[in-house]
Structures are given as structure tokens and as C-alpha cells.
């Protein structure tokens, strides 16, 4: 079986500074890969390189066996490579349902539709309703996102990605800023994702990482220092020294 996502030798330099240093990753269908590392390790940069938001200095990204390195971000997204943002980026003038609808419009390739056709509207409404229900946001559907609590905004952030029915989902700290009491809603939603989907998530909360990850990649100074199952990573001396040692203060 071909890997969903294959990153080879991916490199990004700003001047002399290598923020991403020859990174290799392989994401199999069904994998839940946690990307961990200290602040400034280049985790978000790596996500930006994979999605095409940033142009890589070298290396390649293959999506379902196909080389997408030369394709711009929207084309990669249209092929099922979807990400969320660390700092919530919602459509601020719109309601919750409208925000999800923008995702649905793009998933169903209707962004040029200048007529309101009943069949099209129904398909969009269904896709939106499904994700609203999944994230338990149905009674918030008509609330402007600007009025939501931050935790709920994070859910909408995730919802926009989910409505895209991604093949590969890149989550940049999905639960950041969410109160502990609500973070389980987000993680449950991630847990409920279709089996064959590949998920990469950046996360600082080690409880969440060890609960959900099937695979952990440790990034330090732009380079992968270690990859393995949660138990392998927990036992790794080097990781304990550079990462957990630092996190333990």
C-alpha cells in the first residue's frame, strides 16, 4: 500500500538559518502521528511546507504516491491535504454554520456557483449539519463565531477542516487554549475520524500525545531526532534529555 503522505529530505532555509533540516516522514493510512518538540523546533514551519503555504528550499512531498512538491497550496488542499491553524482563523463576519459552509463549498467544488440550486444547497447543508452534530455544535449553528468562547472557536476551526473530508489532516495544536474540561470534545472528534485517514498533530500536552498517537516524531532545531511508537519514545534517552528534560523545568 502506498503511504498517504511521504516527506523526503524536506528543507527550508531563511538565509543561513535552516529551520527545516532534511526531514523525512511517512504517514500510513490510519496513522495518528504526533509531532512534538520544544518551542522554535520548526513544527509549524514543517506543516506550512507540507501544505505548500511556504515554498520548500529542497526535498519532496508525495501525497498518495503523487509528487505534489511543485503544486500550490490550494491544489494540494483540493487533493485532500487539509490543515488547521494554531491561532484560530475563522471567517469572522459569519456564523458557525456559514464558516463550515465555506469548507463544504470548497469540498464540493461549488465556489463558482452563481445560482442557488436546491440540490446543491441540500448537499452543502447536509455536509454542514453532519459536522455540526459531530462536534456538538448544532445549537450554535446560527451564532456568529465572534461571539463564541475560545474553546468553541477551536471546535469550529477543526470543523472547517473536517467538512473538507481530508485524506491527510494536519492539526496545529488543536487543543491549544482550550480549557481542559473541553479538550476531550476536540480529541474525541479526532478519535472519531475515519480509520483510513492519516492525521499529523502538533501537541504540547503529553497526556494527549500518549493517549492518541500511534507514532511520535520528535523535532529539534528543524531536524527529526527520533521517530517511534509512544513506548519507544518514552524510553528514548536522547528524547528524555532534550525534550522532556526541558519540559520538566
Amino acid at each position: 500500500m502506498t503511504a498517504l503522505l511521504e516527506v523526503r529530505n524536506l528543507t527550508k532555509s531563511f538565509g543561513g538559518l535552516k529551520v527545516t533540516n532534511h526531514v523525512d516522514l511517512t504517514l500510513e493510512p490510519g496513522a495518528r502521528m504526533a509531532l512534538i518538540g520544544p518551542n522554535g523546533a520548526g513544527k509549524t514551519t514543517l506543516v506550512n511546507l507540507i501544505t505548500g503555504a511556504l515554498a520548500a528550499s529542497g526535498g519532496s512531498v508525495r501525497l498518495m504516491g503523487e509528487d505534489v512538491s511543485a503544486l500550490p497550496e490550494p491544489v494540494r488542499a483540493a487533493r485532500g491535504l487539509i490543515r488547521t491553524f494554531q491561532v484560530t482563523r475563522l471567517f469572522g463576519s459569519m456564523t458557525v454554520a456559514e464558516n463550515l459552509r465555506i469548507g463544504a463549498i470548497h469540498r464540493q467544488r461549488r465556489s463558482y456557483a452563481i445560482l442557488r440550486r436546491t440540490a446543491v444547497e441540500q448537499a452543502l447543508d447536509e455536509a454542514v449539519a453532519r459536522v455540526l452534530a459531530q462536534l456538538r455544535l448544532t445549537d450554535r449553528a446560527d451564532t456568529p463565531v465572534a461571539r463564541l468562547a475560545y474553546g468553541e472557536q477551536r471546535l469550529v476551526e477543526l470543523g472547517i477542516a473536517l467538512v473538507m473530508e481530508p485524506r491527510v489532516l494536519l492539526l496545529d495544536e488543536p487543543a491549544a487554549g482550550v480549557p481542559q474540561s473541553e479538550s476531550h470534545i476536540i480529541m474525541d472528534a479526532i478519535d472519531d475520524l475515519p480509520e483510513d485517514l492519516g492525521v499529523v498533530f502538533i501537541e504540547h500536552d503529553m497526556d494527549l500525545v500518549f493517549r492518541f498517537a500511534t507514532e511520535i516524531v520528535v523535532l529539534v532545531s528543524g531536524a527529526v531526532i527520533c521517530t517511534g511508537t509512544p513506548s519507544e519514545i518514552a524510553a528514548n534517552e536522547e528524547v528524555r534529555r532534550v525534550y522532556f528534560g526541558e519540559a520538566a523545568h
Binding site: T51, A53, E73, P74, V75, A77, A78, I82, R83, F85, R89, L90, F91, G92, S93, M94, E98, R101, I102, G103, I105, H106, R107, R110, S111, Y112, A113, I114, L115, R116, V120, L124, P144, I160, M164
Partner: protein, 319 residues
């Protein structure tokens, strides 16, 4: 979603307002026609400024292009008005579409300056091409056939009023529909966060080019209407000053809501009408003061004020 009766009422607002204004100013139909035409232009500006979120000072370029195209079409091709409208709309759309390919790669201040530059270039070309456009003297000497072969243009602007009102009505109703289509929603999403739309597979550049071209077509349509009803086209129709003036109207009424374009145009032109007759030199001072107050205290424009009052009266929170 608004309820069915509210939607129908919204669609009927333009003809209703037209009739009320006609009752108030029965002898000033040419003036009312002017308001309707300007309202079409300001609506088209709202597509770019309010819905796509692109501040421009070059929108009159498309209005002027449409006006000159319709004038030349009537003079040299056929003086039938409806096909003249199409000619004007096409001219506006072509100017907008061609320049959008360049413009939409720019952002912020660069974009704004480029809209001014393009508008100035067009102004100079039209000004220098005296043989074709009449230069400073303007383009005149064309007469229009009756609309649909039935209604003759008259000296008092009676036909001009009904004709312009009908076009405004159609444009308003169509734009209201467009705003709730997937395309319209995508354009709004791009205004809110273009990068996010790109991350969902949306083609931001293409959507902007399309909406700018569409807006240019409507501005050209307004220009054509102006040419046909006034039967003179002047250089000022292309000027950056005029672009700024319609932007003031839009800000006055409120950007991003089609009602804002209508209310802003009406309030601006009526104030202009009265203030200019009281003091022809300093009337702009009055407009300026109102604008300062609106921008400082009511950034959403007059329609935002109306929405706030409505919300207060009904005890609900304003949207």
C-alpha cells in the same frame, strides 16, 4: 436566513423608494434618475470594497469606460438603448477584467495606488483622443431611440427616471441573490481571511478577478445609463475625484451591505442637492463633517445605525 416576506419586501424596496421619492420630488425626475444611476455605481463599488474587501480609488474608470462606450455606440453603431447598455457593461467588464489580472496580484496600499494609476492612465488616453472622445469638450451629439421601441426619451427626464429605476431594481435584486450563492459566500470568506480560503483549496486570485470584472460590468452599465439619459459624456466621469466621491457615499451608507450603497447614495445626493443650493462653494465641508462623525462614531455607516436602532427597539442584539 431571512423569512420569506422579509425577502420579498427587500426586493420591492427599490421600486417603493422610487415611488416615494417621485411623490416627494414630482418635478425633479432627472435628478432622481441621477440618484438611481449613482446607486447602481455605488452598488458595484460595494461588491469590491464591501464584499471583496478591496479598497479602491479607481472605480470611476469602469463607469467612464461604460459611458464612453455607450456614447460611441449610439453615435456610430446603433442608437438603440438596451444594446447600448450591453455595450457599456461589456466595456466596463473588459477594463476591469484586464486590469484585475494585474491589480489582484497587489495588496493594500500598492493595490490602492494602482487603481488610481490605472484610472489616471485611462483619463489621459480619453482626454488626448479628442477625435474619438471629444476630449475636454465631452462626447455629445447622439440621440437615443425609444426604449423597447415604445418609450421616448424626454427633456424632463420622465423616461430617464423609470428606465434607471428599472435597471437599478434588476441590479439590486440580482446582487441580493448573488450574495447568498456559494460564489458570493466564498468572496465574503476571502475578505475575512484569504489565507484560510487558500488552505481549503480556494483560488483567491481567480475569485477576486471574477468579482472585480463583474463589478466593472455593473459600473459600466451605470455609465451607459448615464450617457443615454444625459446624452453627454464628460471626462469627469473617469476622474479619481469621482471615484473618491462614490467611496464616500458607500462609507456613509455602510460597506458590505447592499442597503448601505442605496442609503449612502440617497443621503449624499440629497445633502449635496440642498447644501449646494445654500452654499455652492462650501457644501463639501458639510459632507466632510458628516463623514468624520460617521467614521468615528458609527463605523458601519448609516445602515449599521439603523440596524442598531432596530435591535434596540426589538430587544435583540444587533448582528
Amino acid at each position: 436566513m431571512t423569512s420569506f416576506p422579509t425577502r420579498i419586501l427587500g426586493d420591492l424596496a427599490v421600486p417603493l423608494a422610487g415611488l416615494i421619492l417621485l411623490a416627494l420630488y414630482p418635478s425633479q425626475q432627472a435628478f432622481l434618475a441621477q440618484i438611481a444611476i449613482t446607486a447602481i455605481l455605488v452598488l458595484s463599488l460595494d461588491l469590491v470594497v464591501g464584499f471583496a474587501g478591496l479598497a479602491t480609488l479607481g472605480h470611476a474608470a469602469m463607469f467612464g469606460a461604460g459611458a464612453y462606450a455607450a456614447g460611441l455606440y449610439a453615435l456610430h453603431v446603433w442608437s438603440e438603448p438596451l444594446t447600448g447598455l450591453i455595450a457599456g457593461a461589456l466595456a466596463g467588464a473588459v477594463v476591469a477584467g484586464a486590469t484585475a489580472l494585474m491589480l489582484m496580484r497587489a495588496h493594500g496600499l500598492t493595490f490602492l495606488m494602482m487603481t488610481v494609476a490605472i484610472s489616471q492612465v485611462l483619463y489621459e488616453i480619453v482626454s488626448k483622443a479628442r477625435d474619438v472622445t471629444g476630449g475636454d469638450d465631452g462626447l455629445f451629439g447622439f440621440t437615443m431611440q425609444p426604449v423597447l421601441g415604445v418609450w421616448e426619451f424626454d427633456f424632463f427626464g420622465k423616461l430617464a427616471f423609470w428606465y434607471s429605476l428599472a435597471v437599478l431594481w434588476i441590479v439590486f435584486v440580482l446582487l441580493r441573490r448573488l450574495m447568498v450563492t456559494p460564489f458570493g459566500q466564498t468572496v465574503r470568506a476571502i475578505r475575512d481571511d484569504a489565507g484560510r480560503v487558500g488552505s481549503l483549496g480556494g483560488r483567491v486570485y481567480r475569485h477576486r478577478v471574477v468579482v472585480y470584472t463583474l463589478s466593472g460590468g455593473i459600473a459600466g452599465l451605470a455609465g451607459a445609463l448615464s450617457a443615454q439619459t444625459v446624452q453627454v459624456v464628460g471626462l469627469s466621469s473617469l476622474s479619481v475625484t469621482y471615484s473618491a466621491e462614490i467611496l464616500v457615499m458607500l462609507v456613509l451608507g455602510g460597506t458590505g451591505r447592499l442597503w448601505g450603497a442605496l442609503v449612502g447614495t440617497l443621503v449624499f445626493t440629497v445633502i449635496h442637492h440642498y447644501a449646494a443650493s445654500i452654499d455652492p462653494v462650501r457644501w463639501m465641508l458639510f459632507i466632510g463633517l458628516i463623514l468624520v462623525v460617521i467614521v468615528l462614531f458609527l463605523p458601519g455607516g448609516l445602515t449599521r445605525g439603523i440596524a442598531l436602532i432596530h435591535a434596540w427597539l426589538t430587544g435583540r442584539r444587533a448582528p
